[in-house]
Amino acid sequence: MPDSAALYRTVRLIRRFEERAVELVRAKQIFGGIHPYTGQEAIAAGTCAALRRDDLITSTHRGHGHVLAKGADPARMLAELAGRATGLNRGRGGSMHAADFGLGVLGANAIVGAAAPIATGAAWAARRAGSDRVAVTYFGDGAVSQGVVLEAFNLAALWRAPVIFVCENNGWATTTRTADAVAGTITGRAEAFGIPAARVDGMDPEAVLAAAAEAVARARAGAGPTLLECLTYRFDAHHTWEHTARPRYRTPEEVEAGRARDPLVIQGARVPEAERERIDADIEDLLADAVRFALESPLPDPATALDHLYADGTRVRAGAA
């Protein structure tokens, strides 16, 4: 039996986190903007609910939801977005690179598709190390046309690597419709490599959890990779620059129709009202504290800008001498 309240809590946390983050972008507290995950929360919540703490994930440019669902501290995540020294990556990564290795979050990635082989390699290594950990790699519908993703499918299938490919098909890659970019089908691409693939209702956290649990069990048992194509919709902008630039590619009718099924409402209906209210209040407090923590945290010292460039601390020449 899925823990409906826990799933609701994760969806709610991500939704409200993103809403607060968008406010901070507007207030210029977050440098450069974000790619909001709003609308797609069921996928992060459902898949991460099927994982253990020591399992691995890689995330995308639209990655806040994955990182939070895997258990990252919202305060340190928000501090990262605000470029603070207390952030998950000490202010070095920002929205598109949030990582938390203590929780198996091998990092969000700003290059579409680039993380699929990385997750495959991590999954292979986990098995080689004798563990039964699995890796989940998230990517969008846009990524299935990157050669490296298809090359990763091939390697994962050849090696029966314990990796789950989670494609978040939200219908659009920036302004390009999935149908205008993808020949054939997304599941068909995986099936061509002998990888079992399923289409999942990516708006329903429990449907995602059920599919993910099956894929994770297969991977743990040594039966190899699975692809889940989760059908979803991006409720907000591709990136917050759209809030000012307002490119026209989706009609208001389409956006309205896309928002009609809302993972927050779907999962909320499964939780008694009193409990829901308690969770909601809890999350408001948590996020109020997170915002305060982020904004009160120190900025990184410019003299440390090259720290962590090399594992062994190798020093390099400065740009002016």
Binding site: I30, G32, G83, G91, G94, N109, A245, P247, P300, R317
Partner: protein, 326 residues
């Protein structure tokens, strides 16, 4: 006179060339919706056959452009972010660039690669903030980095008419520039011809791309004490060595400001060539990013690794005072 923005200059160059030559076509991601605004209005005017939205398949569509060029088209590729050049690097450096020589001159590859907002673009962090023009100059792909709207127009037109692959970097730090121009006087700018933006007699500052504007500002600040000449090479490969030599004949002192990583950046090549072959009366200096820099996300860290006006001012003052070679 009309105010021309850098962005509009790029758009106008493409529009004019598409009007003039039906072989010019545009490939890229989101080019119909024109998310970078560079391709605004093109699909309406020239139709979807000539303005093609691509799947996120940079390696493939870069190669497709090469093939199309071999068969008579003159594609322009817009890359949304500088890192996409890394994805497509093999197709550019090892394919498009090598056809002419390897086929014994049987063919040409007229493709233009345009990178709007190259370099750091404020808050896009490590994987979106590189400025890899030196890499292309190094492998020998023709490379232009215009600093002003008129040069952006002129160099992009020239790139589109050139029979070789040409990469045009439009630095994020220059994309907001505007300039009062006579639109009828806009003209192609030849590759390999630099431009003296400000004449001076004591120190030559070679500035690349957006840094030209920083160099001009610093030259102005220092004008009471030091006479600074600002030389903009405009193209890094081919490079206007004669223009640089002429400038150094006047000043004998050199500072280069270059948004490349220090080791193996174009700034090093400029210093080396000047030291080998030109008139220098004092040791030259360069301001660059650090060796192998990865730009961190936070604003103050990102800024700390890019060439700054303070660094440039200090370098000019040091070189101006330096006692000279013995």
């Amino acid at each position: 006179m009309t105010i021309l923005s850098y962005l509009k200059a790029l758009n106008r160059a493409i529009t004019d060339e598409m009007d003039r030559d039906p072989a010019v076509c545009v490939f890229g991601e989101d080019v119909r919706a024109a998310v970078t605004n560079v391709t605004a209005g093109l699909v309406k005017r020239f139709g979807p056959e000539r303005v093609l939205d691509m799947p996120i398949s940079e390696q493939a569509f870069t190669g497709v452009a090469t093939g199309a060029a071999l068969a008579g088209q003159r594609p322009l590729i817009e890359y949304q972010i500088p890192a996409l050049l890394f994805l497509a690097f093999e197709q550019i450096a090892n394919q498009a660039h090598k056809f002419s020589l390897m086929t014994g001159g049987q063919t040409r590859v007229p493709v233009t690669y345009l990178v709007p907002s190259s370099g750091s673009r404020d808050g896009w962090a490590g994987q979106h903030s590189d400025h890899p023009y030196s890499l292309f100059a190094h492998v020998g792909v023709k490379t232009a980095v215009p600093a002003t709207p008129a040069d952006a127009y002129g160099l992009l037109v020239t790139a589109l008419r050139d029979d070789d692959p040409v990469v045009v970097f439009a630095p994020a730090g220059a994309m907001g520039r505007r300039e009062d121009v006579d639109l009828t006087a806009l003209a192609p700018v030849p590759l390999g011809v630099g431009r003296v933006h400000r004449p001076g007699s004591e120190v030559t500052v070679v500035a690349v791309g957006h840094l030209v504007h920083d160099a001009l500002a610093v030259a102005e600040e220092l004008s009471d004490s030091i006479s600074v000449e600002v030389f903009d090479p405009r193209t890094l490969h081919p490079f206007d060595w004669q223009g640089l030599s002429d400038s150094l004949d006047r000043t004998g002192r050199l500072v280069v400001v270059d948004d490349s990583n220090r080791s193996c950046g174009i700034g090093g090549e400029i210093l080396a060539t000047a030291a080998e072959q030109m008139h220098l009366i004092a040791p030259p200096k360069r301001i660059t990013r650090p060796d192998g820099a990865v730009l961190p996300f936070a604003e103050e860290l990102d800024r700390a690794l890019q060439p700054s006006r303070d660094q440039l001012r200090t370098a000019i003052q040091t070189v101006a005072k330096a006692g000279g070679f013995r």
